[in-house]
Amino acid sequence: MAEFAPKNNDRPSVPRRSAPKRFDGQRLNCDTALCYGIVTAASMGLMTRWDGASIICSVGDSRQESVSMAVVRAYQFAPRLLLVVICFMLLGISSRNFSRTRTSRLFFVTVISASAAFCWQMLDSSSLLRNLDAARWMAADSEDSATISRCERPYTEILNEKRPFVLVDARPVPYCQIHTLPGARLAGIELHLDEMRLRLRDVGKYTPIVVYCQSNQCQWAELVAKRIRATGFQNTSVFVPGVNGIQEYLAIQAARVQRDD
């Protein structure tokens, strides 16, 4: 039997499948790529004026508030960051196993993007799919050419008029939980229309409603004011300086009280 056993030299040579040519032969280095991703995200975050930037620049109590806001945002974005990492790992795994042709890659990208989008919508309580009513209203709002009156006077002048008005906070709930003005009603854009009507059920149709957001850079207030007007409240306006303007007033008041004491 041994004489029939093929020798190593007589083993027929099987042509090896040539490795696909690549532009570079480097293997995926997860550490490097993740490092790039983190550096990119961090730099983009600072560039978009996140609370990270305000933490660096703020002092005293405002820094404490900035830290709270940053914690809220981190809590909000943690599941999203996890989704990013999972997508990245799935891409890394798929590149080795079942993405050889363009068609298969396109199919895989379509599936993963649809799944990731669906998971994202389910994870976020203020997402589009979970607030379809508000999303449809937002889409229809672009055809509404009527504008909301904008109030840019200082908060002290509004208070000095001594007319009753209703304050509405247009920011999302996590921001209102850090601090909100006394007496303000929470009616963010993610709120269902019925819920919003319930929160304003004791307000008269012609009672002045003043909607505010964080600052004059925020567009939520105008959109929430349009939404409130769409439900029947005729006297709605936007306080443009927002919380920052009101805090300035409160700081002035506190300084006056301290000086009087």
């Binding site: 790529a33 999203r80 990245f88 994202w120 937002m138 889409a139 993610e190």
Partner: protein, 166 residues
């Protein structure tokens, strides 16, 4: 043997890339151009995805303002496009997916250029919405910016074709 990779293995490998650029001549500088274009695209897509994922309702409004699709289609696109941007950024980071990601990115950016041109020709004054609600209104600047990103993505896709490999 000098490494043929244009993607630095470590962050401090950038100096090695510059040395390779000197040793490879034109082909070496070409690699730097491709790397720079990749990083620009990654940054742009990451920034866009991050901002849009934080303000999905504004994305709906921005898409509807273009007046190219209906309400439900705008909501669907607003939910999907930021994730697509994120995936494109991740693909451009991964050297195995870079060519395919660049091809997809160039197709998507070409669609954006045509959408902005259509808005411009119709004379509508709407914001671009590319990087948030505070972005510039659609005009020469936004179209140039999107076209530049399209050229970058197309350059990366072409650079990975066999005939153009250094």
């Amino acid at each position: 043997m000098a490494s043929r990779s244009i993607w630095p293995f470590k962050l401090q490998g950038f100096s090695e890339m510059i040395e390779q650029a000197y040793s490879y001549g034109f082909k070496g500088y070409w690699r730097l151009v491709i790397l720079f274009a990749s990083l620009c695209l990654v940054g742009a897509f990451f920034l866009s995805a991050w901002i849009h994922l934080g303000n999905q309702f504004f994305v709906v409004k921005a898409i509807t303002d273009y007046k190219l699709v209906g309400t439900d289609a705008a909501i669907f696109l607003a939910a999907l496009l930021p994730i697509v941007h994120l995936l494109l950024a991740l693909m451009l980071l991964n050297h195995r997916w870079r060519q395919f990601g660049a091809e997809l990115a160039s197709a998507l950016l070409l669609c954006y250029v045509f959408a902005q041109l259509s808005v411009l020709f119709r004379g509508n004054q709407v914001g671009c919405g590319c990087f948030g609600f505070e972005d510039s209104p659609i005009g020469l600047w936004t179209i140039s910016r999107t076209s530049l990103l399209f050229v970058m993505a197309g350059t990366i896709a072409l650079a990975y074709r066999k005939s153009l490999r250094p």
